[in-house]
Symmetry: D2
Subunit: 491 residues, 4 copies
């Protein structure tokens, strides 16, 4: 029976006997662990939004012929790609963190067209298998996670050149009915909160890396899969009992190391196996989608702008011209990110397989701004918050009978502002600029979907420099060597 609600989603995660390790110990039930639960709540919002606003967060799939969560939808129109961005921004606004489902959505759309292309070249059956897999996910309304980023070892060496061959996930055995894979994928978003994982190669491969050209679906609860939880700034505040110091007690992100300890995958779930020449296009299509998916951060930006405006109100500073100007600057930067992202989606084109692929240049430009502007927005939020954001005593001090009354006396500002609300908003800003969700709002903005230099390399490839030179040469009246007619399709 498919998952029909946020609550059913949470219930579906129980009793899976996952091997999850955190703070040196195996976690009995991740759903009930206070550090993990906020990340589950964040994904649950993707179900809740689909219930509350089906237009925004679900779509009718011609694959399964049914209404499906938009995260499971293979795009059938430009509007489908655009709607992903709208949904992502809304979820960012609702959770103030990473809601973890974009990797799966983007991997699904990238694999959909790449499997088609492989089959055209090699006569393989990957596309049909993949369609069946997606139909299955849609029917059950599952969460699909991705598993792309290998741990990589010595970055100056190819996968097959590493001292330890396991430093990239690879096939260690081929059986009549399937393959066995080994290796680890680093900092995988939301993996423990998913039902299935889509394993993909992490980069361009050469023929010598054949065993590394593997793409496959693996159930999260496969017994040979091990998860080691990554720690986040201030993660242990969730263990303290208080609520306010957490800043955003309800929602958080999740990243973990996934270790594949010789996992058997039947061929029905294998979508690439050895076709090294398609690794690059899989990575490129996925990252094009995924770099534009970082529009989600504008939803977090909305929250942070709102928090900064609120604390300025509480401090009685909201009418100061410099405060208003800083809020405008924050909004301007936030919308600049949104503009490039939504433009990339609007400029989508159909693939050979029939789904829609966003504009590569604009997607890279969007993500590249995401590696810069959230840091500046965060800086401005800290400016408006004031120093108390980092010197506020703890929940326990406010709860103490000795220090609580003293703190409430001295932390008062205007009579209509409650000291606790002031604390709550300061802690939210701390949470998003230094604490748990700063991981998602800042560092993940920097490195997720590729570090800044990866975007610059892609922009360099896409910027059509020869045509731009011809444009200039024509206007300058350069004759010799400039006889070619400029191809004016330069963006």
């Amino acid at each position: 029976m498919p998952i029909r609600s946020a609550d059913e989603y949470i219930a579906s995660l129980r009793n899976r006997k996952l091997r999850v390790y955190l703070f040196g110990e195996r976690v009995e039930e991740p759903v009930d662990h206070p550090v993990i639960r906020p990340s589950i709540n964040a994904i649950a919002e993707t179900y809740r939004l689909a219930e509350e606003d089906p237009e925004l967060a679900s779509a009718t799939s011609s694959l399964s012929g049914q209404r499906v969560n938009r995260f499971l939808h293979v795009t059938e129109s430009v509007n489908d790609v655009v709607m992903q961005n709208r949904m992502q921004r809304r979820l960012g606004q609702r959770t103030g963190t990473c809601f973890q489902r974009c990797v799966g959505m983007d991997a699904t759309n990238a694999l959909y067209s790449v499997t088609y292309d492989i089959d055209k070249t090699h006569g393989t059956p990957y596309h049909e298998r993949f369609r069946s897999f997606v139909q299955h996910m849609q029917r059950e309304n599952f969460v699909v996670g991705g598993a792309m980023t290998d741990v990589k070892g010595d970055r100056s060496k190819a996968p097959h050149e590493q001292a330890d061959p396991d430093l990239f996930v690879h096939v260690v055995e081929r059986r009549p009915d399937g393959v066995v894979i080994r290796g680890a994928k680093a900092h995988q978003t939301g993996c423990i909160n998913s039902h299935w994982l889509l394993v993909m190669p992490t980069m361009r491969l050469s023929a010598a890396d054949r065993d590394y050209a593997i793409s496959a679906a693996v159930p999260v609860d496969h017994p040979n899969v091990l998860y080691i939880y990554g720690r986040q700034s201030c993660d242990s505040r969730a263990l303290e009992g208080g609520e306010i110091d957490q800043g955003n007690a309800q929602f958080g992100g999740q990243e973990a190391l996934i270790v594949f300890e010789d996992v058997f995958v039947p061929y029905t779930h294998v979508f690439m196996d050895g076709e090294t020449e398609f690794a690059a296009s899989l990575v490129e299509r996925f990252t094009a989608y995924h770099r534009r998916s970082y529009v989600c951060k504008t939803g977090l930006g909305d929250v942070l702008i709102g928090a900064a405006a609120t604390i300025a109100d509480y401090n009685g500073a909201s009418q100061a011209s410099h405060v208003r100007d800083k809020l405008v600057e924050m909004a301007h930067l936030n919308e600049t990110i949104y503009g490039a992202g939504i433009a990339a989606s609007h400029e989508s084109k159909p693939t050979s397989a029939g789904n829609y692929q966003c504009d590569d240049m604009l997607a890279n430009v969007c993500k590249h701004n995401v590696t810069r502007f959230p840091y500046e927005i965060a800086r401005l939020a800290q400016d408006l918050a004031g120093g108390l954001m980092v010197t506020l005593p703890s929940d326990a001090d406010f709860d103490s009978q000795v220090t609580g009354p003293i703190l409430r006396k001295y932390m008062a500002t205007r009579p209509e502002v409650s000291v606790d609300n002031r604390r709550r908003v300061l802690r939210l800003i701390e949470n998003m600029t230094l604490g748990r969700n700063a991981v998602g709002y800042l560092t993940e903005s920097m490195h997720g979907a590729g570090s800044p230099q990866a975007q610059r390399i892609q922009i360099q490839r896409l910027m059509q420099l020869p045509q731009k030179k011809l444009l200039a040469q024509k206007l300058a009246g350069v004759s010799e060597g400039g006889t070619d007619k400029p191809d004016e399709r330069t963006r």
Copy 2:
């Protein structure tokens, strides 16, 4: 007979006996004046592109039922708005300057819906008159210029409060068959190269400014209209005879002061007269369109990037990592502008009148980036150009029998690079960063369609701060005073 080509356009401008003053003298025939001609050539490209690429630069209008130049088209779909941006970028690439027709296009689209709204309220016949006017323009394939920015006098005073009432264009007499207007419009782009001008109020007006709430069409060659040409950096190089020093000898922009010396306008050409409460919405719809029209500057950016890349080649520096990185940065900034602009167009919505209006926030964000990024792109272009850009001797020195050979000996770089081509590219970069077209690429990018602070005010209005505060308060767990449900339609 309608204008059918670029050449016919140029011919149509002859013998109009305009009263144009430049460098203290009346210009006999603007078409033949070396300072003015490049600006005419730039508009001529809008005709040439419509011939060469009708898909891009023309459209079928349901108003006149015929194929019309896109600059004369009332948008009938989202795609029509998007195509404007594509055409603008292309024309920026082809001319490297301001091609001057966007004001008319954007004014046409703004007046189309505002006249409709006025009529709904006041039962006036403006919309039908305006449709007739547009049909006329389409049939003749004319250039329509705008005339919005008043000279403004003391900026702390309203129009009716000025010491001299003429400091804003206003109605000085009402006759049975029309009105008489007086005043001046400052720095009007391409006005002398147009056939008709659309006069519009420059800002929000109060009831006391009734006579200033005037919108009307005036033929450019009306005998009571006087034009005083604005001078541009390096304008007189066009008078020197040489070609290379001009940088871009073929194309330039144009801005002039238009003086209305008691111009009679028959009512058939009056589209607003006294409805002060609609002045603000006319200005806002026009600027929303027009701020997004600054996507044209990405076409100029393409040229400047190409010029910078070419000069790096000529200097033998194109493989230096810092050179490549600067080119990538220039492209990234350029595409960031494009992203927000094209997104504003993609997010257009229909007006009550049926045409399409772009997204206001993204249009402002686009323009606000235009007030910043071209300056940085220009700075990087100067970095790559090297100091010779500003110390190169003149055309005459290169043509001189004494100094020419010496200069050619010492300005040589690599054998395959001609010294003249090197000069041409350096002069193009000078032209776009200091010279005539720096006016269009930089200062007009700053102030055209409203100075930076105008965008910030508009962003502040549109940024939905109350909803953003609620988003933050909800996540922070703020209770008191935060009981309102956040309206999640926050962008």
Copy 3:
């Protein structure tokens, strides 16, 4: 007997029976508390440096005639001011955090000249009292902390207008032999680790605020003084037992709320009492000194640049041109801060009292850059660190027999790089950009010694705009109204 070493300093803090509260409980012995101890270690370095490099970190005082720690020295020359900056940078390099003694040093130098000026006007005995106090501190080699920033309540109201008069520290009783003060000072750096506190008013005061114009020395262990510790990002990692996850296990900063619960101060320790007209100059002289003291952050910048370079080495990326370029940019920004700061010190002038006061404009410029550049340096450090910085499992996971070996297998990079060293450097970058010392490197850089807008207001006051206008008007040939001769002493 004076304190003679870092160890003796630490010993001197024991058994003081301070009333310090942290995490809701009274701290038995701050010296032994794992959260507090790193901040004590940081101050101890100021003693250690004076031992190891007396030229740098001590000076001969003509007040006491003896060699004293430079933090206790009243400047007697320009070089004395410059040497403060050199010492501050070195200590930043040694500790990677805030070493907390600058407030006392700067307060001492500000009070030295302001007490002199008050006495000149009012015939009061403050200066002599203050000299005696400083001599006492020098003889004992004590740590002097400052206590300036009031909690402020409703920021739109003056001290005497607050609903609760205690929201600014003030005199509640005057006795024959001294005064009684009440109130609280917020986020006071290093207060618990000091021996004496210098209480000062927080801002410009009017005559009605007479009771708030109080400056006095109070022993840290006065029984009526209460301390409530401010919590920092990731503070509780110090309680976990592991060392690596702390990032910088040895050193940290400290900020606490100081509550004066009717503290009696004998007149010998009162240095201002009611002279409201001198509050502004005390604040201005202090902040001029203190804004330039933020040169300390360039020492932290050195550490962070070194950490980023190290992790690039470990990842095998140190030869990538973009990596080198980012390191250069970090150094450039860091040295830009240093330049303005050391320039402010070099441009010091003697006060009437004979000590030296740094240049106000350059000090503000230094601090204003400190509110911007460390954020950008931190962003670049996160760029070079890679995403693992925020997804690395905990110390306990690495220590676990189950997960430890797996983690060590998969976190390996180049054979010569130990996984633990890689973790250590990543955790240090986390510590300085998100964790405990991000408080000092980022948020304190933003708000310490005044928030950004405070510097802008001061720059506006000091920028000599009328003279600048005259310079321009003279060159432009403006005649009327511009007859004044420009005072060319414009900076």
Copy 4:
């Protein structure tokens, strides 16, 4: 008889029969050429300032034992280096342009110590010769220009590898009494306005480049020296007759190509001849001095800030908060440049020869900011100026009886503001951001004393990365491989 005044300086330039070419023709008398004269006026200010403020602009030289213009002074103390910066800023304020004498001053100080070092190694007599030369210059109170930057040809080849050996200045003949040099130096500041030129090699040389390792003094009026004037943006406005359109009619910069057509130099004026291994240190010492000399641009910045503030006044916008904020930002950036520059001077150290050399790192940091901040200051000035800056009609239009009255009617703002003053200030801003002095304020700021990448390379060399790594490793607790004690002298 020495030059004793600005007027005598100008007189000293007459009748020298220089071979100067401009706009394709030989200039009869440069002193009277309207394009050249403003650049002469700018240097004349260096004499005038020495008269009016001898403390600032002159010094007592122990070489000649007399009071000499500071531009001719070999620094004898740290204060001498600092005073150069103060003088430079003042002259920037007085002229609003490049006053052209810094190259000679910085070359003198660099050659002073390098000749000393060469002599120590090679037993050559360069230092004594050079002292005699300087004494001669001081006695006559001459202007000394530099001549360093070669035209360079193919940048991927060393001097001796060029197709044409003359693309770097070199010795073509050695005679018993001197050498003959040939080649050209590009964009040489103020050369025609000087009395003597100091020829120096342009870059690091290898042994194979022996003939290129030549430093010598050449009289400007040597018959075998030819000058070809570089054209500047808007240069021909000086030929138009009007004053206002020039923006800054009195002062301008000068850059020209110097061609050495087999110039004989007696050995008394040869200061390096073949000692290739000292070319690098000559270049480095010169550029260290010269990069810090760009503090002059803060004087231009003062003028531009003043102009922007004036135009805001004229427009009635000076109280708008965004206007004040932009002026503060301009001042902040300007003072940031000043801080690093003056700090470099304050941190000077004596050379072996006894004169003082500024701090290399801070000098590079200063110049690197000069390649960025003037562009941003100029952008903000254009923001405050408004669009009229680039659309204002010409002087002739304002002088015309037809258009003059109309323009004066419509360009009026507040009654107390004269339209001509408004024009003057707008034209000054145009002059400094697009026109003649934009060359000095912007492009020369970019490339003078080395392009941005040259500073980055030098910063990379000086940033002591190994020590910084050790600082980080120590705090992180890195053990293996990190056993070296960190050298804490890291800046």
